[in-house]
């Protein structure tokens, strides 16, 4: 009977009683449990971070935050070993540069693979896909030796350069552009006398914008959280945020209120990003994103 009552409620053709039924409490309860489990660790960190060094040992610890968070945060920020401002600005520079460069270079290459004819394009594209399977760890030793030879160890350039463009980015943009940009548009621009690069700039780039925005977000998040290579190649005087968190942990083993205050401080920028762009991240993943 619902099938007769409801057909206007859903736009999709073939909508049915099964599809339009509002789910029961079990569905919401399961989702709520999962959501609480996702948020609770942050709340727990805040509880500890807003107390003092004894809070963690207190068997009657309150479930309500204390009032020391700002003081703890200030202690962390003022600690010269942690180098908080340096780490924050480094993280911003590294992630922004890598995201912008990955988007531009991947779009350029993806456009060429998707829409331009050239000898060996198929083989080269297969080459790109094959390089996605190569693990980062495979190259760290020689990469480190290389950076040492160039004298770049300790500088954020050594972190940025390996991430200027990724195989995943090229593959992602190739997929998107080949599906979304009509070849006729390119031909029209060429007939009108545009050079190749102008055609790319005025036709290719605007068409690729939605996918480029998602690639930007994913690259930004990935490079912001990247730990192993920066940890190897940078030192404590010039860290990124994850590296400075590892220094913080080594410094304040006994005082978890400070460690977790630092963790929350380092997490805030990404939570802000998530508030503004979380919706895009969701649709990016659902559009077929793979782990970057």
């Amino acid at each position: 009977m619902t099938a007769i009552a409801n057909p206007l409620k859903r736009k999709k053709a073939g909508a049915s009683a099964v599809a339009t039924m509002r789910p029961g409490w079990f569905v919401y309860a399961s989702l709520a449990v999962f959501l609480i489990a996702s948020v609770f660790p942050f709340y727990w960190s805040f509880l500890i971070a807003s107390g003092d060094r004894y809070t963690i040992n207190d068997p009657n610890m309150s479930w309500w935050p204390g009032g020391n968070f700002l003081a703890n945060a200030a202690t962390v920020i003022d600690n010269p070993a942690v180098n908080f401002w340096k780490a924050l600005s480094n993280s911003i520079i590294v992630s922004t540069t890598m995201a912008v460069s990955t988007v531009v270079l991947s779009t350029l290459a993806g456009y060429a693979f998707a829409k331009l004819r050239f000898k060996g394009s198929n083989a080269l594209l297969i080459g790109v896909v094959a390089t996605m399977a190569v693990p980062v760890q495979l190259g760290v030793v020689p990469l480190y030796i290389l950076m040492q030879k160039f004298g770049w160890t300790g500088s954020i350039g050594a972190v940025i350069i390996p991430g200027l463009v990724t195989a995943f980015g090229v593959f992602w943009m190739t997929q998107y552009i080949s599906q979304s940009l009509p070849t006729e548009l390119i031909e029209a621009a060429r007939v009108d006398g545009c050079s190749m690069i102008r055609t790319f700039w005025h036709v290719g780039l605007p068409a690729a914008r939605p996918a480029a925005a998602m690639l930007f977000l994913f690259t930004f998040v990935t490079s912001w959280n990247n730990f192993m290579w920066p940890y190897i190649v940078l030192d404590s005087t010039n860290p990124t945020l994850p590296v400075s968190l590892s220094i913080l942990q080594a410094n304040y083993f006994v005082d978890y209120s400070l460690v977790l205050a630092g963790v929350l401080l380092a997490t805030v920028p990404l939570l802000l990003l998530f508030m503004f762009a979380g919706r895009q991240l969701v649709s990016g993943i659902m559009a077929g994103a793979v782990k970057g």
Binding site: G14, S16, A17, V18, A19, R22, P23, Y28, S30, L31, F34, L35, S38, V39, P41, W44, I48, N57, P59, Y111, A112, F113, F118, V128, T131, A133, P135, L138, G139, V140, V141, P142, L143, I145, L146, I161, V165, Q175, M196, N225, F227, Y231, I232, L241, P242, L245, S246, Q249, Y256, V259, V263, T267, L270, L271, F274, G278, V282, M286, V290, K291
Partner: protein, 335 residues
């Protein structure tokens, strides 16, 4: 494609018609523009790859056969000594065991829960965007931060988990001493960060399932559970395999979480939670033996390749002859 109709291509150049002037400089420039631009556009990727991908792979192989001198930055050839050392090192086998154990503890529950959450999100719920975003929240937090939070919650003496266990009358578990508990704690960090992400990928696959399949199943008398197992699961299998493959590749390389699990970062006093990548790091930057570290890198690479091929074989067996939902990575279509 083009080879099937060569006759249509005939009129274009090789020799310009008599009487017409040779190409002007501008025309020639335009031609080079067409010919060279594609290579120019893809060259940044290949240059970066050559520098940070290809060169290191080849050079890792070279170094792995050498006793590397860090001061002079050169090595002396020692044949398979490094490989022999690594393969006879008890620590290597322990870290291999730990890597697989942590990988299994993280991927199996993760995929089951992710599928369940995806099925819940696939229902016609209210506030879809809210739930989807909420599920993804842990993904944006750095693994290092997650590791610090969870290693606190799994503290041996005052950790939250142990106090909760004590409250219900269970003895404290030595999360940072015993092998399996430490693996459970580290796997929990991985699961925390990736379950929601994978749930969204699976959700996308579920939404691609034609709704009339459910309708037909319902008419045939299938209940909710039956519809899930007989319609949803078979339909999302390609995506499921994709998720399994990516989590395998990621899981075998796990580093951040075990490194941050305690302050020493060496994988525990008895290597309880040392993983292969951590072993590689300790070899390279703890003992500064780059030759052996390079050998470890190659062994890890071969393991990953072996797993990749295994996955590929399994994938082909599962997908062969099926007309199920589209896989997430459609094959590239070139004209």
């Amino acid at each position: 494609m083009t080879t099937t109709q060569p006759q249509t291509e005939a009129p274009t150049p090789p020799e310009p018609p008599r009487g017409r002037a040779p190409l002007t400089w501008r025309q020639r420039l335009g031609r080079w523009d067409v010919k060279l631009s594609p290579y120019l556009y893809i060259s940044p990727f290949w240059i970066v790859f050559a520098l940070v991908g290809l060169f290191p792979i080849v050079y890792t192989a070279v170094i792995s056969f050498q006793d590397w001198d860090l001061v002079r930055n050169t090595g002396t050839f020692t044949g398979f000594d490094n490989f022999a050392f690594v393969l006879q090192d008890r620590e290597f086998w322990l870290s291999l065991r730990n890597t697989f154990s942590i990988f299994l503890l993280s991927s199996v529950p993760q995929i089951i829960v992710a599928t369940f959450i995806a099925a819940m999100l696939d229902k016609n719920i209210r506030a879809k965007t809210f739930w989807r975003m909420g599920v993804l929240l842990p993904y944006v937090v750095a693994p290092v931060a997650v590791a610090l939070i969870f290693s606190n919650m799994f503290g041996d003496k005052y950790g939250l988990i142990n106090s909760l266990l004590n409250d219900i009358g269970i003895d404290s578990i030595r999360w940072h001493v015993d092998v399996i508990p430490s693996h459970v704690a580290i796997a929990t960090m991985v699961n925390f960060r990736w379950t929601g992400y994978n749930a969204l990928i699976l959700l996308a696959a579920m939404q691609a399932i034609p709704r009339d399949l459910y309708e037909a199943a319902a008419i045939d008398g299938a209940g909710t559970m039956r519809r899930f197992f007989s319609v949803t699961l078979p339909q999302i299998r390609p995506t499921m395999i994709f998720v399994i493959i990516t989590s395998t590749i990621g899981g075998l390389q796990i580093f951040d979480e075990p490194r941050m699990y305690d302050t020493n970062g060496r994988g525990g006093s008895n290597h309880q939670w040392e993983t292969i990548t951590l072993y590689l790091y300790n070899m390279g930057w703890g003992e500064f033996n780059f030759g052996r570290a390079a050998a470890v890198a190659w062994i890890l690479f071969l393991i990953i390749v072996a797993f990749g091929l295994l996955n590929f074989a399994i994938t082909r067996r599962f997908i062969a002859g099926e007309t199920a939902a589209q896989p997430k990575k459609p094959k590239q279509v070139t004209k």
